[in-house]
């Protein structure tokens, strides 16, 4: 039995706040749940808050990259917020620079980023 991470909604943005050290299977479940919810709720954005995460290893790092790609294919944008400096340093040294993953310092800045990009898309 693996846990599931709750997915909240703020307007058309899905927000996931990872609050505890996740088992690999829970990470995979989250990936699938998010993809499903983007479509089910017509979400335009996803925010993954990793403020509470003390480490991000290659498994979780890969999930972040996958969610960014998957959400783009489902016409939503993903922003990862709250990455600790020590986590960023470690990820780079591990060899995982998460080039395709958009980041912001905190939830508020992440939401603002998504709002701006939604406006830009509506104008386009």
């Amino acid at each position: 039995m693996t846990e599931r991470v709750p997915i909240l909604r703020i307007g058309d943005v899905l927000v996931v706040s990872i609050q505890f050290d996740l088992e690999d299977q829970t990470v995979l479940n989250l990936q699938e749940d998010l993809a499903e919810q983007i479509v089910a709720r017509s979400a335009r954005g996803v925010i993954i808050d990793i403020t509470a995460l003390e480490i991000v290893d290659s498994f979780v790092g890969r999930m972040l990259a996958t969610i960014a790609d998957v959400s783009r294919m489902l016409d939503a944008r993903t922003v990862v917020v709250g990455m600790r400096p020590a986590v960023a340093i470690t990820l780079v040294e591990l060899g995982l620079s998460l080039g395709g993953v958009d980041t912001a310092l905190d939830l508020e800045k992440g939401l603002a980023r998504l709002r701006r990009s939604a406006q830009a898309a509506d104008l386009a």
Binding site: Q25, S58, F59, T90, G95, L96
Partner: protein
């Protein structure tokens, strides 16, 4: 290399037989890294390295054990961890240590990346016998 355990300190032993054990390993290593007063960045690097290796022990080694404890050598103090399994071993070590190479569906960063994150990295493997990896991080 046998791990440079501190005299008088018994390393802790944890099984790695299930996905949840990997979480336990991260938690144990975290406690040890804090006790050994590693800097925050060094703690993060060491826990991350341990997480990668514990997952490999489980996924590729078919399960095994982790011993972890305080380490000491030449006046330096730190934390050490030994990941051991009796799995298939690694036939081509050169290849396995290459950034991006994976025999499974991984990113191929576990071994190569881990080596960059720690101060000492020792890998002993024999095909059909198993794999033992020792890592150490010293407090600065």
């Amino acid at each position: 290399m046998s791990a440079p355990w501190s005299a008088g300190e018994e390393p802790r032993l944890l099984p790695v037989a299930h996905s949840s054990d990997v979480v336990q390993v991260r938690q144990l290593i975290r406690t040890l890294a804090q006790e050994c007063r590693l800097s925050l960045v060094d703690q993060t690097k060491f826990i991350t390295a341990a997480s990668e290796l514990a997952r490999n022990t489980l996924v590729y080694g078919g399960g095994g054990t982790v011993r972890a404890g305080k380490a000491e050598k030449g006046g330096r103090r730190g934390v050490a961890a030994v990941f051991a399994d009796e799995g298939p071993g690694i036939p081509d070590l050169e290849l396995a240590m290459t950034d991006g190479w994976t025999s499974g569906g991984g990113l191929g960063l576990g071994l190569s990346g881990t080596r960059r994150l720690v101060d000492e990295f020792d890998l002993v493997t024999e095909v059909g016998v198993g794999t033992t990896i020792t890592i150490v991080k010293w407090a600065r």
